[in-house]
Structure formats: structure tokens, C-alpha cells
């Protein structure tokens, strides 16, 4: 099973923490996890996990979109990190070019419109900017990510 973590702008601190936490859960379930983001988002991940206990593969976000669009890669599960309208456009793009089951990981101060715009995806959402605990509680509510791919 293959999973993609598609990260947006890392301006909200909870994104990196949530990505590492989800990556660990997925690794333990046997997923091969790829993390895609811009340079800053990837750099934050790699600097937070220097021995690559959680983050095994990384990919530039634009190259990832291109490879998905060209059908060179695909995933069973794709987590899209969303705290703004840009995140919603990335979610819509992934839904359009990938066969992956999509999970919208929504955080920030104003999450309601983002939740509304994420219909058709599994939604993990919490009002969370600096403190990852509310988001982590939502993530822990899913007992098996592999079950979502069946």
C-alpha cells in the first residue's frame, strides 16, 4: 500500500507535527509513505526527523502533481493538508488526477468553510494552529488507515 502526504504552505506549525504523526501511523500499518511539499515544508520535515525514522521518501510538490497527471505514479491513500483555499485546490486536483482515496487534514482558525469544500473526502479537522493535540485526537479516531483503501 502506498500513501502520499501532500503538504501546503508550512506557515501553520501544526502541519509538520501532524505530518510526522500520520507518517508514523502509516509506517506502522505497512504503508510506503511519500511526503510532497514545497522546499520549506520538506525542509521542516527532514530537519525534524534527521534519521528518517518517519519520513522515508520526499518529493517536490510540483513534480508530484506532474507525475500524478502523467500517470507515472499513484497512491492508495492521499492526505492533503489544508488550512487555506490553496489547499482546497490541491485536494480537488488530486481527486481529479489520482485514484487514491483522499483524506482532507484540515486545521487553522477558520476550518468550517474548508470542511464544507472537502466533501467526498475523509475529513480530519480541528481548530488548531500551534497546538497539534486537537488534530492528533482526530487522527487517533481512525483505527486503521489501511481499512479505508479496501
Amino acid at each position: 500500500m502506498k500513501a502520499l502526504l501532500m503538504m501546503g504552505c508550512p506557515e501553520l506549525p501544526v502541519q509538520t507535527a501532524a505530518a510526522l504523526y500520520i507518517a508514523n501511523k502509516l509506517n506502522r500499518e505497512g504503508f510506503v509513505v511519500t511526503s510532497a511539499g514545497n522546499k520549506a515544508a520538506i525542509s521542516l520535515l527532514l530537519n525534524s526527523d534527521p534519521e528518517k525514522h518517519y519520513i522515508k521518501k520526499v518529493m517536490d510538490l510540483d513534480r508530484c502533481i506532474g507525475a500524478l497527471a502523467e500517470k507515472k505514479i499513484d497512491f492508495d491513500l492521499c492526505f492533503v493538508f489544508i488550512h487555506s483555499d490553496s489547499g482546497i485546490t490541491y485536494l480537488a486536483t488530486v481527486k481529479s488526477i489520482s485514484k487514491a482515496k483522499t483524506v482532507a487534514v484540515i486545521f487553522g482558525k477558520e476550518i468550517e468553510p474548508l470542511i464544507e469544500a472537502s466533501t467526498g473526502s475523509v475529513i480530519i479537522a480541528a481548530k488548531s494552529v500551534h497546538n497539534p493535540t486537537p488534530l492528533r485526537a482526530q487522527i487517533d479516531g481512525v483505527k486503521s488507515w489501511a481499512a479505508l483503501t479496501r
Binding site: G8, C9, E11, G37, N38, A40, A41, L61, D62, I65, G66, L68, A69, S84, D85, S86, G87, I88, T89, Y90, A92, T93, S96, I97
Partner: protein, 89 residues
């Protein structure tokens, strides 16, 4: 690449509406459509306008939102007008 920003830092919907409202020759393409060596991100169908030899398109940056760009693009104009297989109007 030469480009002009027609609408900065907006939502994707605002950019799509701007293109549909302000231009006459509009084509709709799917997300992931290749344009100027990059792949379009957006909520499909994505409107792209042609005016003279310019392409007018939405462009999403993760940290900055969506922009409407005007880019000179004779080859891309030709491709859109000829109707590539994955374009729907």
C-alpha cells in the same frame, strides 16, 4: 517567463470568475493539464482564456493563493485552439 499578474492573491473561485467575466474566448481544461511546462492545479473544469496571442490562466501557489496571469504563448494558444484530446469546452 514573461508574465503579467492580472489578479493577485485571490481564491481559486475568484480567479476562475475573473477569467470567465473578462474574456470572451475561453477553454476549459482538467486539473493537471500541462501548460508552459507546469501542470495546472485547480478545481476542474479550469477556465483558460485566449486574447490575441496571450494565455490568461489561474495559477496556484501554496503560500500565496491563486493568481490570474497573462502570459504570451503562441504555441500554447495553438494547442488550445486546435483542441487537444483532454480539453472539454
Amino acid at each position: 517567463m514573461n508574465y503579467e499578474i492580472l489578479l493577485p492573491n485571490s481564491s481559486f473561485k475568484e480567479c476562475a470568475d475573473y477569467i470567465k467575466k473578462n474574456f470572451k474566448e475561453i477553454y476549459y481544461v482538467p486539473a493537471g493539464y500541462k501548460m508552459f511546462e507546469s501542470y495546472l492545479v485547480g478545481i476542474p473544469p479550469i477556465p483558460i482564456a485566449i486574447e490575441n496571442d496571450d494565455i490568461i490562466m489561474p495559477y496556484v501557489k501554496p503560500c500565496h493563493g491563486c493568481f490570474v496571469l497573462r502570459i504570451p504563448g503562441k504555441e500554447e494558444v495553438g494547442g488550445l485552439r486546435k483542441g487537444k484530446s483532454n480539453i472539454f469546452i
